[in-house]
Symmetry: D2
Amino acid sequence: MIPTARTLLISCPDRRGIVAAVSQCVLEAGGNIIRSDQHTTDPIGGIFFMRLEFLYMDAPADDSDFTRRFAPVAERFAMDWRLVRTGEPKRMALFVSRLGHCFVDVLWRWHSGELPVKIPLVVSNHPDLEPVAAQYGLPYHYLPIDKTNHLEREAQILDLLEGEADFVVLARYMRVLSPSFVERYSGRIINIHHSFLPAFVGASPYERACERGVKVIGATAHYVTEELDAGPIIEQDVVRVNHRDQVADLKLKGRDIERVVLARAVKWHVEDRVLIYGNRTVVFI
Amino acid sequence: MIPTARTLLISCPDRRGIVAAVSQCVLEAGGNIIRSDQHTTDPIGGIFFMRLEFLYMDAPADDSDFTRRFAPVAERFAMDWRLVRTGEPKRMALFVSRLGHCFVDVLWRWHSGELPVKIPLVVSNHPDLEPVAAQYGLPYHYLPIDKTNHLEREAQILDLLEGEADFVVLARYMRVLSPSFVERYSGRIINIHHSFLPAFVGASPYERACERGVKVIGATAHYVTEELDAGPIIEQDVVRVNHRDQVADLKLKGRDIERVVLARAVKWHVEDRVLIYGNRTVVFI
Amino acid sequence: MIPTARTLLISCPDRRGIVAAVSQCVLEAGGNIIRSDQHTTDPIGGIFFMRLEFLYMDAPADDSDFTRRFAPVAERFAMDWRLVRTGEPKRMALFVSRLGHCFVDVLWRWHSGELPVKIPLVVSNHPDLEPVAAQYGLPYHYLPIDKTNHLEREAQILDLLEGEADFVVLARYMRVLSPSFVERYSGRIINIHHSFLPAFVGASPYERACERGVKVIGATAHYVTEELDAGPIIEQDVVRVNHRDQVADLKLKGRDIERVVLARAVKWHVEDRVLIYGNRTVVFI
Amino acid sequence: MIPTARTLLISCPDRRGIVAAVSQCVLEAGGNIIRSDQHTTDPIGGIFFMRLEFLYMDAPADDSDFTRRFAPVAERFAMDWRLVRTGEPKRMALFVSRLGHCFVDVLWRWHSGELPVKIPLVVSNHPDLEPVAAQYGLPYHYLPIDKTNHLEREAQILDLLEGEADFVVLARYMRVLSPSFVERYSGRIINIHHSFLPAFVGASPYERACERGVKVIGATAHYVTEELDAGPIIEQDVVRVNHRDQVADLKLKGRDIERVVLARAVKWHVEDRVLIYGNRTVVFI
């Protein structure tokens, strides 16, 4: 019998005995812990986070049995928790505009098996990238947006997503989402911003980086919140630039960083490695 | 009462129930786990490594009580284990030759409180760096070594270390230690090699890097084993170079990498974050 | 009139007066220098390298006039030199095997206008990547190679390249080329090797990196010479790994490095930024 | 006779013939160009920057002869220019407060010959680092500053610097200089700021980085201008952090970046590699 893997995610007020209670419970449910990460914001009065991968070793996976055993532990420690099937693909809706580098990169990683996701649909406010979606046989919903139809369009998009998508990736999608949309997919919308936030929040970061004469440029993948480019950061990286680099060069160099930063963030999200607390993330990698 | 911290280090054959047993034992001994890291080389039949920091919360630390409770667990799982007082300084013997950049850097970090070590003595085969040791009031043993007196000198050095040093740092010490010396301090001698091993094992790595025309150079901190520059790697890092860099430039750029790589390795060693298995390391950072 | 750009590449024994003579000649030919890079291996008795971009400002480009003026300068200083039309696409033959990540990446960069190349043909010893080539309408020559037909196949490939390709990119092509093939395209075959050379020359570098327990892995783009993985290095980069990374993880992390390192090397090659001397390169970026 | 080296720095409106005129002039003055870098902000109507190292080969250095020859060229092209003796130490005033890591690092680099500077004096608003200055026999001027005596103190400091210092390095000096002070040493005051500017301008950048949950932290060396942390950036670098890093950890990790970023900026400044234009720098490395 091939062992079946599960990932258990926990957050709760930190106090003594959590690890013992959780690990005992996993043991009794027939599980063998193969990886465990934990973090506490403060051992006295802080929040405790745990991510645990285990295998059901001897018997078929029985998540209802596990849940029955785990419920009292969870209650005792006032836990937020989730049990997920390790490696099970999540359904990712891709939002794009005109620039295709992040889109193509995500698609390629998905197609080559690097990202355990399903892609039920692509949404765009421009028709440009439809041929790319078509290459992979993906439905491409071209929904042009302007000031007059913004909320109506979002309602249409929400309809499309309903029951189809677990999370949303903004792969250089250049429209700001409304607060109600963000609220609906809270903690489940990943954006790639083309600067090392909090520098250059908002529009035209490469132009402003060039003007400021910075010697590094960066990219930031973050969860979208109501405030623009201010949500919890999942991943960042940078690349060196110099006085020779014009805006066009920054864009070119930036592309490679945007792609890998977004790819890492998406991978960690679908592997349930990212936990949000307040405006920060714990990333168990 | 200020809680007292302990670090528990474990390695054993991986099997089910280790985490539950260990965490239960810590709980019963009055400990609150504040950090825990684990790694398995293979969930089925592999080796399990664990590093756990806990606080004695309510009562004075009683390590003999802990040990009494833990002994049967350790026996049951055939564990190698150690309990250490978190943050307690280790005694570090520094070996140097002529080049002072790593030496000065380690001294400064020690002096500024960044490295929790004591430095009982400095050993050198050259007199050059004695003034630096003197600035900090450190005993400097100048023991010139040549082919005729090599083993005799090592015997003298071993006498100096006996009961005085917990581990040895070769801060650009340019003599190869004999197998018996290495054996005596197995897993407790850290060397900084000025290349990204396994490239450029042995003498003159910068000269050879320049000849080969590489575009990055690096530094490697590793535990010393009998085979030259082949021991378990603790840390590595690199820096970009280009066609303009002559050997002298590589040495200059390399210095900065050597210093930080060595400093990280020493810090992780004294904080008991590094576990050796075969010729590799697990580094819990 | 839009100014026409030219790139002038020079190497010669270093002596006084080269820059003055060259820049005077460009001036008299109606050129305005917009970028100039130079390097000398040694101001006394070394080799001098220069790369110069200029614009014909006032009159139509007249390269034969330039050549007539420049010939005596070149002779006087015993120069190797070339004048190329800046930005003119070079014809790149792509060689691939089974792994598609570098192939797809190069294609995407070409397609998006990032790489000024034409791709007359793709050669492979496996059929796997034919669909990818087909997506872009590129001829894909599937030529399976074994020990018995190696030289015959190479002869076929040389026929395909003749008059069609300016240079060859081995995008994870897993066959060693014969010395005569290498000789035929000397300084014009770029390979991407999946390690930071000179570490892990030859087969299975990720497996060997994992065994050695390194803390960084890398990729190296180099010109192919007769000796395996020993040719002039164009570009290298690395990424951090840790004890958790199995061989499969190294391969995944390595992919992203391989792609960008190869892309940079190809870009610099087609922009005539790379000059070879002995077994090293001068890269004017 | 050992050749004598000179560095020539030029900026002027870009137009045709500059390189030819300059290199011809160097040739006639008996110079052999050993390194030349140039940059234009725009080939049509932009600003042209040049840095040129040459050796007087045959005869003793005669800068007045060079100047006589060069003056008409400079006038013709409306050049700002400077001729400096390559490698001649500049006089650096060090300003420090309480934190010693940058101070110690700069001192060590100076002492080991890595930085071609003289250090006529150290200025501080705290007495803490006097012993470090004393180790190296450097005059340490302890001048406590508060709101009431700010301008008076600056006047004292300006007196100390007058005729003694060519430039000022703020090695974690935690007082804002007045506009008139900045004006007096315009383009000659280097500050190290402990963030990747323009993120976290002003006080407590590590605290704010921690709050924002960034995944990289950085350091920026820049010339001081009237506006706080807004002057021309010379160098920046970053280091990865994660959710485990508290403010204290960020400070520790940041130290290593601050030190190398400041050291590079100071080195490039004293080697006359940095040219300022508007609020940016051209750095010829």
